[in-house]
Amino acid sequence: MEENPLHPFELHNFIPINIGGLDVSINKAVLTMWVVVALVAALMVVAGSARRLVPGKLQSLAEMLVDFIRGIVLDTMGEGGMRFFPLVATLFLFILFCNLVGLIPGSYTVTSQIIVTAVFAFSVYGLSLMIGFALHGAKFLGILVPPGTPAWLLPLMIPIELISQLARPISLAVRLFANMTAGHVILGVLFGLTVSGGLLIGWLPFVFTIAMNGLELGIAFIQAYIFTVLTCVYLGDAFHLHGHDEHAH
């Protein structure tokens, strides 16, 4: 029996919808995203409705998550960054739950589609540019000149800084997409070996499948975490503009 390890990433349209040549069909990914949104909302609404001083299981889970995200925001942006907390928390919870839901056998990993991660990455980066130009005006272009650059180095430094700025959304998108896709391909290949190996040897890759699933659980969390941290770092850079060098003391 042969199984294409990329097969789980195919999108199957459940309800084909076509508006003016635009394909807005309800497919596996869309359905999974709805499930994820419902899960996150349900967790937060149910956990938040109790408001007990001594939290129950669900409430302490929600409190732990919120406190964790708050820690990231304060760490990277400082007190002023708390105005971005709703955005950052939404991003983190959505990505985390997408990654986790994708680990349930038979479900779909939305974050293994590069278009999804790219939309997130470019929106975050676009937002950071908008904040930068709104707060600092044309001075925001100074982000292309690292502090303390001698004038004769400028023709070299500006293209390098431009590339390193443009690389930000791409590295953000590619990192999440590649990690999720690679992990699921490995799981798919191992499980394919289990099926084709039969009883005699097939149990071996099956044990690895279980081990990989545990590893993927960690990766799901770390990738959501790193996406959130970098979101905060990029927003913070636009917010402060060399802030940690000039206004440090």
Partner: protein
């Protein structure tokens, strides 16, 4: 799974970050150079060569920056202010 505020996560996060940081800058640099070659100047391989060189430089710079952020001791809250 360790609790989410374990400093291990910050370390792991930084570790998985650096590889893609190098790659993304290389893609952007090479891509820009290639576009200049193909569609704007028609300047043979030179745009790609210069673009890749700048891309590698930017990638190493980004990785260096990521490592610098890492250097900050984990127990000092908020570097600004």
């Amino acid at each position: 799974m360790p609790p989410p505020d374990d400093p291990l996560y910050a370390g792991l996060g930084q570790a998985v970050r650096i590889g893609t940081e190098l790659l993304a800058a290389l893609i952007v640099g090479g891509g820009l150079g290639w576009v200049v070659d193909e569609y704007i100047l028609g300047s043979g391989p030179w745009g790609l060569v210069i673009g890749l060189t700048l891309g590698v430089t930017a990638g190493i710079r980004n990785a260096y920056r990521a490592a610098q952020r890492w250097q900050r001791p984990p127990d000092t809250p908020g570097k600004d202010k």
